[in-house]
Protein backbone atom coordinates (compact mmCIF):
# COMPACT_ATOMS: atom_id res chain seq x y z
CA UNK A 1 0.00 0.00 0.00
CA UNK A 2 1.33 3.40 -0.87
CA UNK A 3 1.05 6.19 1.65
CA UNK A 4 -0.89 8.25 -0.89
CA UNK A 5 -3.86 5.93 -0.57
CA UNK A 6 -4.47 7.59 2.78
CA UNK A 7 -5.18 10.73 0.81
CA UNK A 8 -8.56 9.29 -0.05
CA UNK A 9 -10.96 10.31 2.72
CA UNK A 10 -12.82 7.00 2.80
CA UNK A 11 -9.67 4.93 3.07
CA UNK A 12 -8.29 7.27 5.67
CA UNK A 13 -11.47 6.95 7.74
CA UNK A 14 -11.37 3.18 7.55
CA UNK A 15 -7.69 2.82 8.43
CA UNK A 16 -7.64 5.51 11.12
CA UNK A 17 -10.72 3.97 12.69
CA UNK A 18 -8.88 0.68 12.99
CA UNK A 19 -5.66 2.21 14.33
CA UNK A 20 -7.25 4.64 16.79
CA UNK A 21 -7.99 2.18 19.66
CA UNK A 22 -4.42 0.90 19.70
CA UNK A 23 -2.93 4.35 19.67
CA UNK A 24 -5.21 5.49 22.49
CA UNK A 25 -4.24 2.50 24.63
CA UNK A 26 -0.54 3.15 23.97
CA UNK A 27 -1.09 6.79 24.97
CA UNK A 28 -2.69 5.85 28.26
CA UNK A 29 -0.07 3.22 29.07
CA UNK A 30 2.97 5.34 28.28
CA UNK A 31 1.60 8.50 29.84
CA UNK A 32 0.46 6.92 33.10
CA UNK A 33 3.67 4.92 33.53
CA UNK A 34 5.88 7.84 32.60
CA UNK A 35 4.09 10.45 34.66
CA UNK A 36 3.83 8.30 37.80
CA UNK A 37 7.46 7.28 37.41
CA UNK A 38 8.56 10.86 36.90
CA UNK A 39 6.55 12.28 39.77
CA UNK A 40 6.97 9.65 42.47
CA UNK A 41 10.05 7.60 41.73
CA UNK A 42 12.74 9.97 40.58
CA UNK A 43 15.39 11.58 42.77
CA UNK A 44 15.86 15.31 43.16
CA UNK A 45 18.57 17.05 41.25
CA UNK A 46 21.53 18.04 43.44
CA UNK A 47 21.35 21.62 42.21
CA UNK A 48 17.72 22.21 41.31
CA UNK A 49 16.14 20.08 44.01
CA UNK A 50 12.58 18.92 43.43
CA UNK A 51 11.95 21.55 40.76
CA UNK A 52 13.65 19.25 38.26
CA UNK A 53 10.40 17.28 38.14
CA UNK A 54 8.98 19.95 35.86
CA UNK A 55 11.20 18.52 33.12
CA UNK A 56 8.77 15.60 32.69
CA UNK A 57 5.97 17.81 31.49
CA UNK A 58 7.84 20.79 30.08
CA UNK A 59 10.31 19.10 27.74
CA UNK A 60 7.95 16.62 26.02
CA UNK A 61 5.32 19.29 25.38
CA UNK A 62 7.88 21.77 24.07
CA UNK A 63 9.46 19.14 21.86
CA UNK A 64 6.10 18.17 20.39
CA UNK A 65 5.04 21.82 19.99
CA UNK A 66 7.91 22.44 17.58
CA UNK A 67 7.45 19.20 15.74
CA UNK A 68 3.72 19.72 15.27
CA UNK A 69 4.56 22.93 13.46
CA UNK A 70 7.01 21.01 11.31
CA UNK A 71 4.34 18.40 10.59
CA UNK A 72 1.96 21.17 9.52
CA UNK A 73 4.66 22.52 7.22
CA UNK A 74 4.98 19.12 5.53
CA UNK A 75 1.24 18.50 5.20
CA UNK A 76 0.69 22.04 3.89
CA UNK A 77 3.34 21.42 1.26
CA UNK A 78 1.65 18.16 0.29
CA UNK A 79 -1.66 19.97 -0.10
CA UNK A 80 -0.17 22.68 -2.28
CA UNK A 81 1.68 20.22 -4.51
CA UNK A 82 -0.57 17.18 -4.67
CA UNK A 83 -3.89 18.61 -3.49
CA UNK A 84 -4.81 15.78 -1.13
CA UNK A 85 -7.68 16.97 1.02
CA UNK A 86 -6.79 14.81 4.00
CA UNK A 87 -3.37 16.43 4.14
CA UNK A 88 -4.80 19.94 4.44
CA UNK A 89 -7.35 18.79 7.01
CA UNK A 90 -4.61 17.11 9.05
CA UNK A 91 -2.77 20.43 9.21
CA UNK A 92 -5.98 22.13 10.29
CA UNK A 93 -6.57 19.47 12.92
CA UNK A 94 -3.02 19.70 14.27
CA UNK A 95 -2.92 23.46 14.82
CA UNK A 96 -5.05 23.68 18.00
CA UNK A 97 -3.14 20.76 19.51
CA UNK A 98 0.09 22.58 18.76
CA UNK A 99 -1.24 25.80 20.25
CA UNK A 100 -2.29 24.08 23.48
CA UNK A 101 1.04 22.24 23.78
CA UNK A 102 2.94 25.48 23.19
CA UNK A 103 0.90 27.27 25.84
CA UNK A 104 1.47 24.42 28.29
CA UNK A 105 5.21 24.50 27.56
CA UNK A 106 5.28 28.27 28.09
CA UNK A 107 3.42 28.10 31.42
CA UNK A 108 5.39 25.16 32.80
CA UNK A 109 8.57 26.83 31.57
CA UNK A 110 7.69 30.08 33.32
CA UNK A 111 7.07 28.23 36.60
CA UNK A 112 10.33 26.35 36.20
CA UNK A 113 12.13 29.57 35.44
CA UNK A 114 10.73 31.13 38.60
CA UNK A 115 12.65 28.58 40.67
CA UNK A 116 15.91 28.28 38.75
CA UNK A 117 16.33 31.78 37.33
CA UNK A 118 14.23 33.54 39.94
CA UNK A 119 11.92 35.08 37.36
CA UNK A 120 8.82 33.98 35.49
CA UNK A 121 9.80 35.54 32.25
CA UNK A 122 13.06 36.38 30.57
CA UNK A 123 13.38 37.74 27.06
CA UNK A 124 15.55 34.80 26.28
CA UNK A 125 15.82 33.50 22.68
CA UNK A 126 14.20 30.14 23.38
CA UNK A 127 11.31 31.59 25.35
CA UNK A 128 10.80 34.36 22.84
CA UNK A 129 10.78 31.91 19.95
CA UNK A 130 8.09 29.88 21.67
CA UNK A 131 6.01 32.97 22.24
CA UNK A 132 6.32 33.84 18.54
CA UNK A 133 5.36 30.29 17.63
CA UNK A 134 2.28 30.57 19.82
CA UNK A 135 1.22 33.72 17.96
CA UNK A 136 1.75 31.92 14.65
CA UNK A 137 -0.52 29.10 15.78
CA UNK A 138 -3.21 31.60 16.77
CA UNK A 139 -3.00 33.42 13.44
CA UNK A 140 -3.13 30.16 11.52
CA UNK A 141 -6.22 28.97 13.39
CA UNK A 142 -7.88 32.38 12.97
CA UNK A 143 -7.30 32.29 9.22
CA UNK A 144 -8.92 28.84 8.93
CA UNK A 145 -11.89 30.23 10.81
CA UNK A 146 -12.32 33.25 8.56
CA UNK A 147 -12.48 31.67 5.11
CA UNK A 148 -15.66 29.84 4.16
CA UNK A 149 -14.66 27.98 0.99
CA UNK A 150 -12.74 24.94 2.23
CA UNK A 151 -10.31 24.65 -0.69
CA UNK A 152 -9.50 28.33 -0.63
CA UNK A 153 -9.00 28.18 3.13
CA UNK A 154 -6.64 25.24 2.67
CA UNK A 155 -4.66 27.16 0.03
CA UNK A 156 -4.34 30.32 2.06
CA UNK A 157 -3.47 28.63 5.35
CA UNK A 158 -0.91 26.46 3.60
CA UNK A 159 0.75 29.50 2.08
CA UNK A 160 0.69 31.18 5.48
CA UNK A 161 2.21 28.09 7.07
CA UNK A 162 5.07 28.04 4.56
CA UNK A 163 5.83 31.75 4.98
CA UNK A 164 5.48 31.34 8.73
CA UNK A 165 7.99 28.48 8.77
CA UNK A 166 10.58 30.52 6.88
CA UNK A 167 10.11 33.45 9.20
CA UNK A 168 10.09 31.24 12.29
CA UNK A 169 13.60 30.12 11.39
CA UNK A 170 14.61 33.72 10.66
CA UNK A 171 13.15 34.81 14.00
CA UNK A 172 15.13 32.13 15.74
CA UNK A 173 18.38 33.56 14.39
CA UNK A 174 17.20 37.10 14.94
CA UNK A 175 16.45 36.61 18.63
CA UNK A 176 19.85 34.99 19.09
CA UNK A 177 21.40 38.11 17.61
CA UNK A 178 19.23 40.25 19.83
CA UNK A 179 19.81 38.71 23.24
CA UNK A 180 22.11 36.18 24.83
CA UNK A 181 20.14 33.37 26.36
CA UNK A 182 20.01 31.78 29.75
CA UNK A 183 17.94 28.80 28.59
CA UNK A 184 19.95 25.59 28.56
CA UNK A 185 20.41 23.83 25.24
CA UNK A 186 18.17 20.92 24.42
CA UNK A 187 19.44 18.13 26.65
CA UNK A 188 18.08 15.36 24.53
CA UNK A 189 20.87 14.52 22.16
CA UNK A 190 21.55 10.85 21.62
CA UNK A 191 24.75 10.87 23.63
CA UNK A 192 22.61 11.21 26.69
CA UNK A 193 25.36 10.41 29.21
CA UNK A 194 26.88 13.76 28.55
CA UNK A 195 23.74 15.63 29.40
CA UNK A 196 21.58 13.91 31.92
CA UNK A 197 21.80 10.62 33.72
CA UNK A 198 19.58 7.59 33.25
CA UNK A 199 17.44 8.20 36.33
CA UNK A 200 16.02 11.29 34.67
CA UNK A 201 16.39 10.18 31.08
CA UNK A 202 14.32 6.97 31.11
CA UNK A 203 11.12 8.35 32.64
CA UNK A 204 11.48 11.40 30.43
CA UNK A 205 11.63 9.28 27.29
CA UNK A 206 8.59 7.35 28.49
CA UNK A 207 6.56 10.52 28.96
CA UNK A 208 7.77 11.76 25.61
CA UNK A 209 6.61 8.62 23.87
CA UNK A 210 3.31 9.00 25.68
CA UNK A 211 2.90 12.62 24.59
CA UNK A 212 3.76 11.64 21.04
CA UNK A 213 1.04 8.99 21.06
CA UNK A 214 -1.31 11.47 22.66
CA UNK A 215 -0.68 13.84 19.77
CA UNK A 216 -1.26 11.03 17.30
CA UNK A 217 -4.53 10.09 19.00
CA UNK A 218 -5.78 13.65 19.08
CA UNK A 219 -4.65 14.23 15.51
CA UNK A 220 -6.55 11.18 14.28
CA UNK A 221 -9.66 12.11 16.23
CA UNK A 222 -9.59 15.69 15.00
CA UNK A 223 -8.78 14.84 11.39
CA UNK A 224 -11.66 12.38 11.39
CA UNK A 225 -13.92 15.13 12.72
CA UNK A 226 -12.78 17.50 9.99
CA UNK A 227 -13.40 14.87 7.31
CA UNK A 228 -16.86 14.16 8.70
CA UNK A 229 -17.66 17.87 8.75
CA UNK A 230 -16.57 18.17 5.14
CA UNK A 231 -18.80 15.29 4.21
CA UNK A 232 -21.71 16.87 6.05
CA UNK A 233 -21.29 20.14 4.11
CA UNK A 234 -20.91 18.25 0.84
CA UNK A 235 -24.07 16.24 1.46
CA UNK A 236 -26.03 19.31 2.49
CA UNK A 237 -24.81 21.22 -0.56
CA UNK A 238 -25.98 18.40 -2.81
CA UNK A 239 -29.35 18.39 -1.13
CA UNK A 240 -29.95 22.09 -1.77
CA UNK A 241 -29.41 21.74 -5.50
Amino acid sequence: MSIWELANPVRFMRLSGRVLPYVSVLTIVFLSVGLVWGFFFTPDDFRQGASVKIIYVHVPLAFLAINIYFMMFVTSLIWLIRRHHVSALAAKAAAPIGAFFTLAALISGALWGSTTWGTYWQWDPTLTSFLIMFIFYIGYIALWGSVDEPDKAADLTSILCLIGSVFAILSRYAVNFWSQGIHQGASLSLDKEENISNVFWLPLVTVMTGVFFLFLTLLLIRTRTEIRNRRITALQAREVL
Partner: protein
Amino acid sequence: MIPELGRYAFSVLGAWGSSIGLVLIITVISIYRAKVSKAALTALEKQHKGK
Protein backbone atom coordinates in the same frame (compact mmCIF):
# COMPACT_ATOMS: atom_id res chain seq x y z
CA MET B 1 6.62 7.61 48.68
CA ILE B 2 5.06 11.07 48.29
CA PRO B 3 7.92 13.24 47.09
CA GLU B 4 9.14 16.01 49.35
CA LEU B 5 8.67 19.09 47.20
CA GLY B 6 9.48 21.63 49.89
CA ARG B 7 9.79 25.18 48.64
CA TYR B 8 9.31 24.02 45.04
CA ALA B 9 5.80 22.72 45.72
CA PHE B 10 4.05 25.65 44.05
CA SER B 11 6.03 25.65 40.83
CA VAL B 12 6.18 21.86 40.43
CA LEU B 13 2.50 21.32 41.14
CA GLY B 14 1.58 24.39 39.14
CA ALA B 15 3.56 23.27 36.10
CA TRP B 16 2.20 19.73 36.27
CA GLY B 17 -1.31 20.91 36.97
CA SER B 18 -1.45 23.49 34.22
CA SER B 19 0.18 21.20 31.64
CA ILE B 20 -2.07 18.25 32.40
CA GLY B 21 -5.05 20.59 32.61
CA LEU B 22 -4.40 22.12 29.19
CA VAL B 23 -3.81 18.72 27.64
CA LEU B 24 -7.07 17.50 29.17
CA ILE B 25 -8.96 20.50 27.83
CA ILE B 26 -7.84 19.95 24.24
CA THR B 27 -8.57 16.23 24.59
CA VAL B 28 -12.07 16.84 25.88
CA ILE B 29 -12.74 19.43 23.17
CA SER B 30 -11.51 17.04 20.48
CA ILE B 31 -13.60 14.14 21.70
CA TYR B 32 -16.68 16.31 22.16
CA ARG B 33 -16.41 17.74 18.65
CA ALA B 34 -15.90 14.23 17.26
CA LYS B 35 -19.09 13.08 19.03
CA VAL B 36 -21.11 15.99 17.70
CA SER B 37 -19.96 15.60 14.10
CA LYS B 38 -20.37 11.84 14.19
CA ALA B 39 -23.94 12.15 15.41
CA ALA B 40 -24.75 14.79 12.80
CA LEU B 41 -23.28 12.71 10.00
CA THR B 42 -25.05 9.53 11.06
CA ALA B 43 -28.36 11.36 11.15
CA LEU B 44 -27.72 12.81 7.70
CA GLU B 45 -26.72 9.47 6.18
CA LYS B 46 -29.82 7.83 7.61
CA GLN B 47 -32.00 10.55 6.16
CA HIS B 48 -30.37 9.95 2.78
CA LYS B 49 -30.95 6.22 2.94
CA GLY B 50 -34.58 6.83 3.82
CA LYS B 51 -35.19 8.74 0.60
